[in-house]
Symmetry: C2
Subunit: 197 residues, 2 copies
Amino acid sequence: MTTTRRDTYTPETLLSVAVRVFNERGYDGTSMEHLSKAAGISKSSIYHHVAGKEELLRRAVSRALDGLFVVLDEPAATRGRAIERVEYVTRRTVEVLMDELPYVTLLLRVRGNTKTERWALERRREFDQRIADLMKAAAADGDLRSDVDIRLATRLLFGMVNSLVEWYRPQPADGADRQQLADTVVRLAFDGLRTGH
Amino acid sequence: MTTTRRDTYTPETLLSVAVRVFNERGYDGTSMEHLSKAAGISKSSIYHHVAGKEELLRRAVSRALDGLFVVLDEPAATRGRAIERVEYVTRRTVEVLMDELPYVTLLLRVRGNTKTERWALERRREFDQRIADLMKAAAADGDLRSDVDIRLATRLLFGMVNSLVEWYRPQPADGADRQQLADTVVRLAFDGLRTGH
């Protein structure tokens, strides 16, 4: 007799359980035992799907990174005036954060203790660099104010965007919410909250 | 013979060691054993100074909270037009974050498992509420744009400010840096990054 459930997992559904546990306990603090308990299947059943917890981490952060990098290659991110492209990428990044919330949360908490974590940090830096380049192009066009340091402003902008993983919780019917949140980020960052400019 | 150092700690210096360890390992993951090792003194020496790790947590988050609440009572935060007071409080909050970086970092990571943590969360909500009230007053004056939700904008603004604990690292001579960072936050949030309004 065993109390574990029949293994009806696919790699995808197992991944969503793993990401939840990683976010709750931290990646370092999660053992295969924890994953086995949370999934309700034996460790050997998990090993049937993946080589180990590092593979689950790699799949999870890949999903977040793929979502983010896709944005950079969308038409509105590659054509037109840099400032418009920056605003588009900002808005779309907010949307990806909302759509892939647990995966991006995990990505943003990665620390660099394993090869996979270091790879994820490297990819994040690459993404940040692409954004920083866009911001520089917008500044060169004269579309960003010259009395702020662009690198610092980029950090603050994405500090604001990334803060979503700390407090955003999707609502059952969040269509309007989602749009409003993306709009508010872009308005706040690029147009400012004050009236009467 | 013992290898532990002579106890030359004051409650204050012991606190700075404890906060570093709490931030590295998480409060839940820190034992008195960890604190004893990091401080290089025996557990009984620590108990000479404090009743236990929860007292260290309370002192640490109190230091962060006191720094933040003081700002709200400063003259520029209590007199004049609400929009000016909001900008002042934003700027000063950034400064407190930089000055008390490890303490505010700990405060922002508190989760609510103990009485002290729940008390800290309650105080944080109180602070957030005071800011939200100021923002509402500025909106009522017509000084904040009417096409953004003020509550959401407040969250995003403080998401940006609080993101500092993730990436800001003080430089040896950081006077200019410090000023520039506070200025950039206020300009970005209230005036926006775009030129030509």
